[in-house]
């Protein structure tokens, strides 16, 4: 059942991505509504798939690459749908849905492992820690997409190019503000994710902080976004500068999330 739901979610996101890109090229409202419906339906199936999998295994299956990527794309689409219903900027999906699709597609490429939950992870802290981390990562993914959009539009305005993209993309100020909100939105769960992780670490490893590669890199990520938020409030790091730093921050997020697990090892490796 769960694999059927998962496949339907994958198809939903694929259609959403395709129509989202068509919307960018053609800007017919029809494509916009199709992609919104497809991704909403995909999201519903995705939710069912996650629930079914959790019930089936008895725990939230994020200990392997499949589960982690699946939950990651679910969180991206969730935040995207919330932002979309709030801001009503259809072109947003043209940039975000491809990212969500890449995430769910790589989940589909990495088959789920059958090994059970290691005893060390059998704790309520596990859920809290993963939940915060995923929320933060998803919000930063959206911020990344908005930053890319911002840079394209900024380039258009700066270089006097009133072409297709100029018409499609929203105004600089709206994107800048949206980016700021998304980063603020991601920063809180990121902070809580690190804190909850270290408290939990005190229980299972006997130390709050042990310079595990994941810990180190999440701290680096935290500093990038902290600097960005601080700079914005004090010396006006906004616009292009903010977008570039947000993109750097997202690189750090992705490395913390995937690079550490796949390249550096440590206690956070996937099963």
């Amino acid at each position: 059942m769960e694999s059927l739901f998962f496949k339907l979610a994958l198809i939903g996101y694929a259609i959403g991505t395709l129509k989202g890109l068509l919307y960018l090229a053609k800007s017919r409202a029809f494509f916009g509504s199709v992609y919104l419906i497809a991704s909403s339906v995909g999201f519903a199936f995705h939710t069912l798939a996650l629930i079914a999998m959790t019930v089936n295994k008895g725990y939230l299956p994020v200990t392997d690459l499949h589960g982690a990527m699946s939950l990651f794309s679910w969180a991206i689409v969730m935040i995207f749908l919330i932002v979309e219903y709030r801001y009503r900027i259809l072109v947003l999906g043209s940039f975000i849905l491809p990212l969500a699709f890449i995430a769910i597609f790589s989940a589909a490429m990495a088959p789920p492992k059958t090994a059970g939950l290691p005893p060390a992870l059998d704790s309520a802290w596990f859920l809290v820690h993963i939940g915060f981390a995923m929320l933060g990562a998803a919000a930063f993914t959206l911020s990344f997409a908005v930053s890319v959009m911002y840079l394209i539009q900024e380039w258009n305005v700066k270089h006097h190019k009133a072409g297709l993209m100029f018409q499609r993309l929203p105004s600089l100020e709206i994107m800048d503000e949206m980016n700021y909100r998304l980063i603020s939105l991601g920063f809180i769960p990121l902070t809580l994710g690190i804190l909850s992780g270290s408290i939990w670490a005190e229980y299972v490893w006997g130390a709050f902080w042990s310079w595990d590669p994941k810990q180190t890199w999440s701290l680096i990520t935290w500093f990038v976004y902290a600097a960005l938020l601080h700079g914005r409030l004090t010396i006006g790091w906004r616009g292009r500068k903010a977008a570039i730093i947000a993109i750097i921050g997202f690189m750090a997020v992705i490395f913390t999330f995937l690079g550490v697990n796949l390249l550096l090892g440590g206690k956070h490796t996937f099963q």
């Binding site: 018409q167 929203p170 105004s171 100020e173 006006g236 906004r238």
Partner: protein, 425 residues
């Protein structure tokens, strides 16, 4: 359908010709009435704008009707050389082409600036005028209603009239792409050229309510500021006032840069890097072009705005292709309706003709069949009726079936010719 459109437009005739043909509002009722009386004209409308003069008519015969309508136009010249002078500039669309032309005009595809919205209003007015003076009927009413509907469809389904095609609107569009909502923003006028004022007015129509004016003579600034209900600033103070300006429009007559690079660097820092949109519509330029390199400063001079406008016009022409597809479909639905309309009188005429023959033959035969009682006469009548009904049944069914088909016109023509329904020798 015997629809004819005869006229001249900016595409075919220079203004000297158009102004001669244009119908002044005062004499329009009179002209419309005399056009309605022209030989072979059943319904008519006159569309007269500065870019086009067009007569929309439903005529009995396409060729004769078109000629009559042309004659009517020539007469407006009050000179004998009308045909030579106007003829080459005149276009005449009939049938399908006339319908397509009507839809294209209404959708502003034939306008000087493709997508400009005024023409639809002018066409509506011309139609209302025709309605008032009862010169339109079934066909032209339907044509106009459909044209208005098509124009609306084109406007919502394509982006043909969305982007700015004038310098001052382009400035507004750019401001919107930088700031989104203009309501809380401030615009500052440096100098007071006509174009700067126009741009400021457009910006105010789009939500900006705070205007700062700085000109070399303080009195002028005060006067202009009053007009905008804004604030006047002394010339020496303008660099300080710039810190509060989100949009800066420069148009002084000064032959040198008034807003300098270092100054702007200072201003943007003071603004905590909130974006500033600078529009330099003065020639020679008043704003150092180097400021465009500063983060969050966006500078457009008159040429930049012009190129934005040109890009937008190109975009409109692209959208126009989409619009042509919509129109092609709508022309077909309209023609379908028209041809079904023509099939009905043909069927009626066919029936009448055959029934007429039956009646004359019956009248000839009855005197020779004396001695028939009333019951027998009834029987003969129903016998002959039965025969023509049986004979006509198949052709009638076929004609009704073909009424919406591609070849409807051909069937109508064939039946009319074979049974000589038009009463020719």
């Amino acid at each position: 359908m015997n629809i004819v459109v005869v006229g001249v437009s900016h595409k075919t005739a220079p203004v000297e010709i158009r102004e001669c043909l244009a119908f002044p509002e005062k004499s329009l009722p009179e002209c419309l009435a005399s056009l309605a009386k022209a030989p072979g004209v059943n319904e008519c409308l006159i569309l007269s704008t500065c870019n086009r003069v067009e007569l929309y008519c439903l005529v009995q015969d396409l060729d004769k009707g078109a000629q009559a309508v042309k004659e009517f136009l020539y007469q407006r010249f009050h000179v004998s050389d009308g045909p030579e002078k106007v003829g080459p500039h005149l276009y005449c669309y009939t049938g399908t082409d006339a319908v397509r032309h009507t839809f294209r005009v209404a959708s502003s595809l034939d306008s000087m600036m493709v997508g400009e919205p005024q023409i639809l209003g002018q066409l509506k007015e011309a139609y209302d005028f025709g309605l008032q003076h009862k010169t339109t009927g079934l066909i032209l009413n339907r044509l106009m209603k459909k044209a208005i509907m098509v124009a609306k469809r084109v406007r919502t389904e394509t982006k043909i009239s969305q982007s700015a095609v004038s310098i001052s609107y382009a400035a507004v569009e750019l401001a919107r792409k930088i700031f989104g909502n203009l309501e809380q923003k401030t615009v500052m006028l440096l100098g007071a050229g006509e174009m700067a004022e126009l741009a400021a007015r457009h910006l105010m129509n789009n939500g900006i309510h705070h205007v700062i004016v700085a000109t070399r003579t303080y009195e002028n600034a005060v006067k202009l500021a009053e007009e905008f209900k804004g604030e006047a600033v002394r010339w020496d103070d303008f660099p300080r006032a710039m810190v509060n300006a989100d949009i800066l429009i420069a148009s002084t007559g000064a032959p040198h840069y008034i807003v300098k690079n270092d100054e702007m660097k200072h201003v943007i820092k003071e603004r905590k890097y909130r974006p500033i949109f600078c529009i330099d519509i003065s020639v020679p330029r008043n704003i150092d072009p180097a400021i465009n390199e500063i983060d969050n400063v966006y500078l457009y001079d008159i040429d930049d705005l012009q190129s934005v406008v040109e890009a937008n016009i190109k975009e409109r022409h692209k959208e126009a292709e989409e619009a042509e597809n919509i129109i092609a479909g709508e022309v077909n639905t309209f023609l379908e309706w028209g041809s079904s309309l023509e099939m009905v009188p043909t069927i009626v005429a066919l029936r009448e003709k055959i029934d007429g023959i039956r009646r004359t033959e019956l009248e000839k035969a009855l005197p020779r069949l004396d001695g028939l009682d009333e019951k027998q006469i009834k029987a003969v009548e129903s016998l002959t009726n039965g025969i023509i009904n049986k004979v006509l049944h198949d052709p009638m069914t076929t004609l009704k079936k073909e009424a919406n088909g591609e070849n409807a016109a051909m069937y109508v023509e064939a039946v009319r010719k074979m049974f000589n329904l038009d009463g020719k020798e």
